[in-house]
Symmetry: C2
Subunit: 155 residues, 2 copies
DNA sequence: GCAACATAGTTTTATGATGCAACCACTGGA
DNA sequence: TCCAGTGGTTGCATCATAAAACTATGTTGC
């Protein structure tokens, strides 16, 4: 298989995520979908991508259960692409990507948008990783453990 | 340029992140680097990827300031690849990918590792997005705002 | 009810990226 | 010195990607 080395069977959850949304366009499509875009043409004109690529990506996202097709909604007989629960669940990933860019980008002045709390209009905090008991954790405070039950594997 | 439509100049920080780490292997390399891998051969055998691809990716990550080459460390005259501050800053992204997979994967039983708090050995909480005043936020509680003006940046 | 246009794709074709294998340079040890 | 291991680079086949043309419906104007 010369292909894109699918990590579908890999034990690492990061690889598994990337298998579904690890390509260039998928996350951008999801980003637009979170903002309410639904129609093929909307995605196409907003993202400026080729229609064939968009078609392939949309189908892939539907196959992965991230988007689903809805028969209609605005009266017309066309179909729409809406996020599933799984699709909406990618929100923290997008936030993490955004915050990483905000913090480390070489040209942060080119970033023109801020993610804000809708109620107060103020910027959100950085994503927080906390322990069971509420302590804030950094990468150094964490480690990987094998899951108790099944087989073992080094990863 | 028929190329991979670089979003280097794009205003969206998500696109900008993807421009640096949006490809298949980069995040996996970073994942291993976070676990302490440093040597070319370690990455190559651990990830099972072709050496030429690894070489290209490592160079790209170095160019993006995510990795840097260190002259040596264990006595041998070879070089090593270590994460920069920017590289370590991707940790929340990896956690978000991991947690998304844990929550929505079709075959979660195949995931063999758990991210735990090093001190107590207990699983970490889900990443939390909070408002300025500490309220927990979901996607629906947030919105995007245009940045007023290029003011000074803290951090 | 038919022509013109918009929507949502598929097909075609060209080129860039990926992956495997082979090759090469350098290091360190016997 | 020879030889194995490390750290790559080069060639070549294959695959994915992208732009543009084409198609098949749905919709609108008259």
């Amino acid at each position: 298989m010369v292909k894109r080395t699918s990590f579908e069977g890999d034990a690492c959850p990061i690889a598994r995520s990337l298998d579904a949304i690890g390509d260039w366009w998928s996350l951008l499509i999801i980003r637009e979908a979170l903002f309410g875009l639904r129609r093929f043409g909307e995605f196409q004109s907003k993202l400026g991508m080729a229609k064939n690529i968009l078609a392939v990506r949309l189908r892939s996202l539907v196959d992965h259960g991230i988007l689903e097709t809805a028969p209609a909604s605005d009266g017309s007989a066309y179909q729409e692409y809406v996020l599933t629960e799984k699709g909406r669940g990618t929100f923290p990933i997008l936030v993490a990507l955004r915050q990483w860019s905000e913090e480390f980008d070489d040209h942060p002045e080119e970033i023109t948008t801020i993610l804000v709390d809708r109620k107060k209009g103020r910027p959100v905090r950085k994503l927080e990783l906390r322990a069971d008991d509420g302590r804030l954790l950094t990468q150094a405070d964490t480690t990987l453990k094998l899951r108790p039950a099944p087989r073992r594997r080094s990863a």
